[in-house]
């Protein structure tokens, strides 16, 4: 589904942050992306999410060469990739429901056609009763789940989550992990960037470890 071959990235004229990164994310796979803080996890996620271009190497996304993807094609491809940002990036002036429905609304879909889907999804992530409140009154865990719901509303083929359990207590982290596992069982590939070893120990999954700009993959 997504393939990296000898990918390198540097910011401006600085040193290479990522060096010779090669891996393949198959469909329906589940993996953790880990490594010490500042190792480049978020940068690698940005490459996966097509918001950065590599300075060298080849990235293939859904069979397309990243360097040949035009700006016009990007929105369509992004809809196939769900992202949960570390800082949630919810819009504070929109309700939880509106935030989750945003990907559908920006495509001009009629609200009558997606209202039930969004409410079902909110119920699924446990925010059924919080649909019409604004994000500032949500707790950290609720915001996290709203962000996850927004990433899932278009039923992406792959979900990228950046430190999804960074702001929640261990019981909630376990419940979020269960949510990701269920999602994966239903057919979505999942990449969870985390440095929470305890979280990773709970699941027998592929581990991609970033250190000093290089990536080691442990199947």
């Amino acid at each position: 589904m997504i393939r990296f071959e000898n990918v390198g990235l540097r910011y401006g004229m600085g040193p290479e942050i990522l060096r010779d990164i090669s891996f393949h994310l198959p469909e329906r796979s589940f993996q953790f992306l880990s490594g010490p803080s500042g190792a480049g996890k978020t940068t690698l996620l940005r490459l996966l999410f097509l918001s950065l271009k590599p300075t060298r190497g080849l990235i293939t996304v859904f069979g397309k060469d990243r360097s040949r993807i035009t700006r016009r094609e990007l929105p369509g491809l992004r809809r196939r990739i769900g992202v949960v940002f570390q800082d949630f990036r919810l819009l504070d002036h929109l309700t939880t429901y509106e935030n989750v429905a945003l990907p559908l609304r920006v495509r001009g879909r009629d609200e009558a056609n997606y209202r039930n889907d969004v409410l079902e999804l909110l119920k699924w992530v446990g925010l059924g009763e919080r649909a019409h409140v604004l994000p500032p009154v949500l707790s950290g865990g609720e915001k996290q789940r709203a962000a996850i719901a927004r990433a899932l509303i278009e039923q992406p083929e792959i979900l990228l989550a950046d430190e999804p359990t960074g702001n929640v207590d261990p019981p909630l982290a376990r419940r979020l992990l269960r949510l990701f596992i269920e999602l994966n069982r239903s057919g979505t590939a999942v990449v969870i960037a985390t440095h929470d070893l305890a979280l990773m120990d709970q699941v027998d999954a592929r581990r991609m470890i970033l250190a000093n700009g290089r990536l080691e993959v442990y199947e």
Binding site: F49, K53, T95, L121, G128, H132, R175, R178
Partner: protein, 329 residues
């Protein structure tokens, strides 16, 4: 939602909360770009103030230009024949003769002798009332009204007058008109220069104020971008919002300027025949900017609102371009 998620819900640990119901009469959708924030309100004020000042400047330039035109046409519409008195010279006959000669020329609408009473009234401010004009060697005048479309041959008229009445001189006001035209042109040019500076300042202020207001919306652009919104959609949402902001400000500023013009017009009409109003009217006419002036005000309002929308569009497109094409940051 698909069946797959629905069927998995019991395993997530989050489901099973109390049943979900849409409230009857679900709340109105919030707009994607927030309607009210401090930056937008400040932008409305900035745009209103700059539009007001631009419209005032434009109105003032229109006023000066119209007044200068009026001065020119009033003065160049008349010429004066002056006849100096001499001992034993029948000045009344000479005045009649001069008037007749002038009227013979094509391009002369009429020639009117300024009679003794009128001459006395002209001199009243200097010599006081009760003046017996016959006791003083006062020159007498013939006012020649000219057809603006076809000016008579002043050289031929002057030659003929001097040949028949040696005491006569013809003043076609040419020197005075030329100086007035030069002064009026200088004033209008200066006014236009001030207007250009004012409009440039307005454009820059509106552009930077809009960009400032947009800076606070950067996170919204990013989120919309990352949830897969087309650039066209994002630009359109922001353009719509800021066009309304721009229109609000520009209309308020334009309306305030029009109110000032109407108030001055009213003041001058209320004070007709008072010395202050006469002075002001002599200099600036009736303080009316006319339909052209109002059309210019409307044009400025539209341009400024459009400028706000265009700046917003460019800011969004630039921001999206940076998000899409970055090699690193």
């Amino acid at each position: 939602m698909s069946e797959r998620i629905r069927s998995n819900s019991p395993n997530t640990g989050f489901a099973g909360l109390s049943g979900l119901r849409m409230r009857p009469g679900a709340p109105r959708r919030n707009p994607i770009v927030p309607q009210q924030n401090v930056a937008s309100t400040a932008l409305v004020f900035v745009i209103a103030i700059m539009t007001f000042l631009s419209c005032l400047t434009l109105g003032a330039v229109t006023l000066v230009r119209d007044t200068a035109d009026a001065w020119q046409s009033q003065i160049s519409r008349e010429a004066t024949i002056q006849i100096r008195p001499e001992d034993g010279f029948d000045i009344e006959a000479a005045l009649e003769a001069a008037s007749r000669i002038a009227e013979e020329f094509t391009g002369v609408v009429s020639a009117r002798v300024v009679d003794r009473e009128a001459t006395a009234r002209l001199l009243e401010p200097w010599l006081g009332s009760g003046l017996d004009i016959d006791q003083l060697p006062v020159p007498r005048l013939v006012v020649v009204t000219i057809d603006e479309g076809a000016t008579p041959d002043f050289t031929a008229m002057r030659d003929r007058l001097v040949a028949e009445i040696p005491q006569a001189t013809l003043d076609d006001h040419r020197n005075w008109v030329d100086r007035l035209i030069t002064m009026a042109r200088t004033t209008v040019t200066l006014g236009l220069a001030v207007l250009v500076l004012m409009l440039s300042a307005t454009v820059l202020t509106v552009v930077f104020a809009t960009r400032g207001a947009m800076a606070g919306n950067g996170h919204i652009i990013e989120v919309l971008h990352f949830v897969g919104a087309e650039a066209r959609f994002i630009a359109q949402e922001f353009r719509k919002h800021f066009l309304v902001v721009g229109l609000k400000g520009a209309l308020a500023g334009g309306a305030a300027a029009v109110a000032v013009f109407i108030a001055f017009g009213w003041w001058s009409s209320q004070n007709l025949a008072t010395p202050e109003a006469d002075q002001a009217a002599a200099l600036f006419g009736r303080f009316a900017i006319g339909y052209t002036g109002y059309a210019y005000v409307a044009m400025i309002v539209i341009i400024i609102a459009g400028l706000t929308a265009i700046t917003t569009h460019m800011t969004v497109v630039t921001r999206l371009g940076a998000l899409d094409t970055g090699y690193g940051d």
